[in-house]
Symmetry: C2
Amino acid sequence: MTTFKRWVLAKRPDGVPSTDDFRLEQSALPELQDGQALIRVDHISVDPGMRSRLSGDSYAPALDIGATIESAGIGKVITSHNAKLKEGALVWGGFGWQSHLLSDGRGVQALDPKLYQGKIKPTSAIGLFGIPGLTAFFGLFEIGKPKQGNTVVISSAAGTVGATAGQIAKLQGCTVIGLAGSDAKCAYLKEIGFDIAINYKTAGDLTAALKEAAPKGIDIYFDNVGGETLDAAILNMRKNGRIVVSGQISEYNTRTPRGIRHTLPFITQRLKMEGLVVYDFSVQFGEARQQMAEWVNEGKLTYREEIIEGLEQTPQAFIGLFSGESFGRRLVHVS
Amino acid sequence: MTTFKRWVLAKRPDGVPSTDDFRLEQSALPELQDGQALIRVDHISVDPGMRSRLSGDSYAPALDIGATIESAGIGKVITSHNAKLKEGALVWGGFGWQSHLLSDGRGVQALDPKLYQGKIKPTSAIGLFGIPGLTAFFGLFEIGKPKQGNTVVISSAAGTVGATAGQIAKLQGCTVIGLAGSDAKCAYLKEIGFDIAINYKTAGDLTAALKEAAPKGIDIYFDNVGGETLDAAILNMRKNGRIVVSGQISEYNTRTPRGIRHTLPFITQRLKMEGLVVYDFSVQFGEARQQMAEWVNEGKLTYREEIIEGLEQTPQAFIGLFSGESFGRRLVHVS
């Protein structure tokens, strides 16, 4: 009999989550039934977007108290009574913050060995080739619609979504400006090809800093932050500018969201602001992964990971996202 | 020699404009030159959108101090040395708040007698068939993209833009809910075919009122107001909802705009918010007017005017727009 550990929601966070909001449980896995497979989870993701699921707000389906925290994960099939899940196969899916699970195969996919080879590590299945990278890809192409010569500004640019969107925008012939919260992150952005990197913590007036960086205005603002940062971008948008609402990390932890002050430029500059949930594009995921893999193998697209050791550390790893301490795709190695 | 009167910008308004911000000047018109025509202005418009042009803000080109206030107008060609402008013809253009002007014909158009006949009065050239009606038409079709069965909410619904957008949305098979500031306006909305009319001044919590009126959510929000009203709509938008930013009357008179608080629903509900400047669609104006004229002649589209008597009253007529006292397209009869 296998015991397993999982993190459940102990109570709903008030503001920034604390470790008390989560509880680690240990229990025995039930017997494997026909059609099931036992998966050992190797890596799990921590995602800022999960924050709004922890609250009982009305926009997204809230996670129940006592439920396992949801997340993406990669694992290995240990024992299988399911023809689709071969023993020994590497698989990924929405495994949640836990060490093992029994699966009937729904929502679980084997990693395609043709994709995950050479420079492409299996963990990228829940990073560059998972929701963050796909959000960058579809947000940029479907909403941002980059054209040669466009000026693109990206917030949280050193995160996986931002860094991927920025590198892809460069490949489309855009000038790319990234906002990040440390000089080290800004140096990284320059390394991976951003034209300008602004440390928003030391830049002073962000509206003025963006005006200096993009004197002709912003064509595409790829927003992972919201609030004041979004306002600063709005005040610098060029005629017919597009705002991709990919994430709103500044708004996840508050009951009284700040929002934006400036809606008049939507008229005068004919702005468009649009949000996306990347699952709406799932029929095109294969194609997007293929394109991104080509870029990685040609050295045109890079990807940074940060591995936190131990399932026990998962809530801390998650909470750290909101202070900006993470740098690259943050995963937890369950071990 | 003809003398003429005109209203100029005396100083930039602080908050809601006051009559002191404008100055009436009287002077002699210069001699008519070759290629020019003398136009006597009969009706002029007062438009809330002009408010932001009076301030020195950075989004729209500000009107200079001492300049004639810009507006649409209808007039008659009195004397002409210009082949395009026939004496006696009714014409319209961006005449401004003045009694006469000399024109070289640029930006001036004769009223097409085939269009302006029967139920269609010449004054509608700067109302239903002018910028307000065209804004409703293109805002609704190009951004709102109404589909049979959609739920459409419209703010400032008793104004020309709102009432026109609402009636056209009804013709597309939508359920239409209007927001207006008096019971008389709400009664008018019901008369012209709106399904539900909400008096926002007496409705209490607007978010709750919209939830009750549109229990399945809003597909299209046609916004003429901004601020709290826009927030209430955002909280009730349905998946893939479209927000047409047509006007933001609640934001024109303030140095510290309120904006919106709720940007998270842009992600969770995949919302799109887009502003328009109707001149961008000018090549399609003829077609739109033809379509609207058909509807008017078939009795499917109606239009309400409110004529204020005397050029002297123009600033008062303009200022009254911001307290919601106007009801229908407000024009000033110069005489």
